[in-house]
Symmetry: C2
Subunit: 276 residues, 2 copies
């Protein structure tokens, strides 16, 4: 792997020192973008989220979008990933700092850019409810920070239960998200996704769906209400729209149909945008 | 700084590659030990906690205690920190892995050891209640993981409020801990600390106090009850026992006296242990 770090290209080497806060404290952010044939999908949404989260957490701003895009494309090229689907990752750390929780005002943020083959998209998944809960009063639940161990452990728990993905409730006991994907339910014909205040990430695919489907509703769902859904689709920038076959002991027979409908509406909206 | 990494000594260089899960996902653990004149304080408690948390999170076990101790002492020596107080940090990461949340079974854990001057101990602090909450259903709240951004943001918020330390409630709305310290209240003459189930770390100083003071009680405290405390002491391995002068708009006139009492009892218990 060839990584870009603040202007340098590093081939299979070490990239960060032992006092970088991204490493010592998970003090930083990341983005993973889908690339198709060397082009970045929805880069503006990712770059804007990164800048907004950096501002919210008091981290130095990332480089401007045109610079990020140029580096991301060059990273794809240098890693031979200009054909087909690939994943580009931007990692912004708070930089080097003396021991302790306090960021030094003089610390420079570090930016790493890497690229990998993309995971398969659109596959069906079975969900298991896990014990790890999302916390609306935690920056780690609301932003895509380097402090990502809750999601690691949630997915691990789902796999141990024989499922493919985790159904994470929040600390108030309401369905919130998967380990690294947002949730779109169909309940009594209504298309519903939990609001950001439930302790979830502002996913880029979620944002695109809300724009493309004016009838889609953001609202809190109780566990009991969510259990009446006949369809559930997971959304993630790299994996696209994944229909849920089941959640715990409930089958979700309508998920394939819901997925097709969401996919169509996204395509339509983007065709319209590209005409505009 | 000279860092030890899995058998190599690295002077001021980069220590981890871009695909190390400690860096990409906060997937790992750390410990910070107090060293005095080159000797490690309560190393057994730290090493046992590290091993227990690694097992709980499914991470490979750290090296055995005698090896950790030897490396920690050598790291102090190489960094010229064998006189006075210093801090040794052990960082255990889940190692290198392909993109995604799933750990590869073949991944080798990485161990980094660093040393720094220790922060001042025993200083008085003023606490401000912050919005970041500890989550009993989160591995990041229960273990000392590399996903530490909640504590970073909690302390930042306290500083922005003009205080020295954060009073963190948990998601159930009960007082839980400071950003990186546990809490010991005195309420109506009773010495009380919140139980681990409130979403806090099993602090080594907290463990020592519970052993030294049989009358100290672990129980949940409501916010209202905690507000009737006349004394509050913060416990942390590096910073020792710190008396709280105030919490938000309440003064805590008995904290200095409580701190002296706790300190005496710890010393007595350790004198007794060293005689045994």
């Amino acid at each position: 792997m060839i990584a870009w770090r603040d202007g340098d290209w590093i081939e299979d080497g070490d990239v960060l020192p032992a006092d970088d806060r991204g490493l010592t404290l998970g003090d930083g952010l990341f983005e993973t973008l889908l690339a198709v044939d060397g082009g970045l999908a929805h880069a503006g949404l990712h770059f804007r989220r990164l800048a907004a989260s950096a501002a919210a957490l008091g981290l130095p701003p990332p480089p401007e979008a045109s610079r990020l895009e140029a580096v991301a494309r060059e990273t794809l090229t240098r890693n031979g990933l200009n054909r087909g689907r690939a994943a580009v990752r931007l990692t912004l750390t708070a930089g080097r700092s003396a021991r302790g929780l306090v960021r030094e005002p003089s610390a420079d943020a570090r930016l790493l850019v890497t690229a990998s083959p993309a995971p398969e998209a659109g596959t069906t998944v079975r969900l298991a409810t896990v014990s790890v809960r999302r916390n609306p009063a935690s920056p780690a639940s609301r932003h895509k920070t380097l402090s990502y161990i809750d999601s690691v452990m949630a997915l691990r728990e789902a796999h141990q239960a024989g499922a493919d993905e985790a159904m994470m409730f929040n600390t108030a006991g309401r369905p919130a998200s998967a380990a690294a994907a947002n949730l779109v339910f169909r309940i009594d014909g209504e298309i519903v996704t939990p609001p950001l205040s439930e302790g979830i990430l502002a996913g880029t695919t979620r944002t695109r769906l809300l724009a493309a489907l004016p009838e889609m509703v953001e609202r809190r769902l109780t566990r009991a209400e969510a259990k009446t859904a006949d369809a559930l689709v997971l959304t993630n920038a790299l994996r696209g729209l994944r229909p849920a076959l089941s959640w715990d002991d409930r089958d979700l027979p309508g998920s394939g149909e819901l997925r097709a409908r969401l996919e169509d509406r996204l395509s339509l909206a983007e065709d319209r945008d590209s005409l505009g």
